[in-house]
């Protein structure tokens, strides 16, 4: 379905990290988690790919593909972005600071 799945930190059962490229992380402001931020996944050309809402604990994740991605967060606490390079399948985590 087209809604964002639960953005809890745990991966869904059956996620095969030898095949899936998962970008996951936490939105933070001054080291504290920011819940409910809108996290946008932009591809290597800056083009919008997907958007999720971070959980109450600031966690988010995307099922993507190997490559270079920009993660951009919009929140009441401010906005921020971070570039992530996923060299291959697996879990790639990042801390996304907003200010």
């Amino acid at each position: 379905m087209c809604g964002a799945p639960d953005q809890a930190a745990a991966l869904p059962p059956g996620t095969d990290l030898s095949k899936e490229t998962v970008l996951a992380g936490r939105v933070v402001a001054g080291g504290e988690p920011v819940g409910g931020a809108f996290v946008r996944l932009l591809d290597g050309t800056g083009e919008f790919t997907a958007e999720v809402v971070a959980s109450a604990s600031g966690d988010f994740r995307f099922f993507a593909a190997p490559g270079t991605w920009t993660l951009r967060a919009l929140s009441r606490a401010g906005n921020g972005q971070s570039v992530v390079t996923a060299g291959g399948p697996g879990l790639h985590t990042t801390e996304l600071a907003v200010a």
Partner: protein, 281 residues
């Protein structure tokens, strides 16, 4: 149609929260967002099981739509303001369905839940109950809904606008990147379709781009303004967003939403499919 006939701003909405005859409706696929906090006075509609038939693959019929709106306490004369998450995808789908069944006063909150939240405007968990009405719908206006045979006939004859992401269009993936991959039997797109992802019509905060920006976007993508247009995506909600842009904001005269979209087309036996970046560009 002009922008003021189709959209309301968050400022307008905030000033009209208690206005008699104005009903706010949150539309989501997953209504836990509503339950965690909604615009004061707003009722919720669940896209999955209230706007679609629970058994057959179809939108609700006229009688089901009448029952739904009656139960939600929405009258024929009410001005309905729709909003939701996911950049208003499901609210735009609801807008299309409200138009299909002839509701006169319906508008979309520009920016939806996202802008409302980013602005720090009030959300409440208060329960909302509205007295039931006796709603009357018209027979569906099929001038805004396309079916599969019409889509096949449109190949090379009408504008086909595929609003999915480039990777879905080219056949690399079958669903948006943040979702489990599922659905149609084949990947790719309808031959001659142009690919204009829905997201290009929206700003970062979920509001629609200006009319000038939108005209330029579809013009550059090769949309022929003298032809009729059919928009599609995977399950018909992102294409409602683009349908709303083309017909309601830009005023194109014959624009239909193909709600069967790729999950139907990509499962049909014997139809032509194109993969790669397409000939539409």
């Amino acid at each position: 149609m002009s922008r003021q006939d189709v959209l309301v701003t968050a400022d307008w909405a905030e000033k009209n929260l208690g206005t008699e005859g104005v009903v706010f409706v949150e539309v989501d696929e997953d209504t836990t967002a509503y339950d965690g906090g909604h615009i004061p006075g707003a009722v919720k509609i669940n896209w999955t099981d209230e706007l679609q038939d629970p058994v057959r693959r179809d939108i609700v019929n006229k009688e089901q739509f009448e029952q739904l709106l009656s139960a939600k306490g929405i009258g024929n004369d009410d001005l309905v303001i729709l909003y939701g998450g996911n950049n208003n995808w499901f609210a735009a789908y609801a807008y299309w369905e409200f138009k299909l069944y002839g509701h006169a006063g319906v508008k979309l909150l520009d920016g939806g839940r996202k802008k409302w939240e980013l602005d720090g405007r009030t959300l409440t968990t208060d329960e909302v109950s509205r007295p039931a009405t006796s709603y009357t719908a018209i027979d569906p206006d099929l001038s805004i809904r396309a079916f599969r045979d019409e889509v096949l006939d449109a190949i090379g004859a009408k504008n086909l606008v595929d609003v999915r992401s480039p990777d879905e269009f080219s056949g690399k993936i079958s669903a948006p990147a943040h979702l489990p991959q599922e659905q149609a039997q084949r990947k790719g797109h309808i031959p001659t379709a142009i690919n204009v992802p829905w997201s290009k019509a929206a700003n970062e905060d979920g509001t629609f781009k200006s009319d000038d920006e939108l005209s330029e976007l579809y013009g550059e993508a090769g949309l022929d303004g003298s032809r009729s247009t059919i928009a599609y995506c995977r399950i018909g909600e992102r294409s409602s967003h683009t349908w709303l842009v083309l017909r309601e904001l830009l005023g194109h005269s014959d624009v239909k939403n193909y709600d069967g979209s790729w999950t139907e087309y990509g499962s049909l036996v014997g139809v032509p499919i194109e993969v790669g970046t397409g000939a539409g560009r």
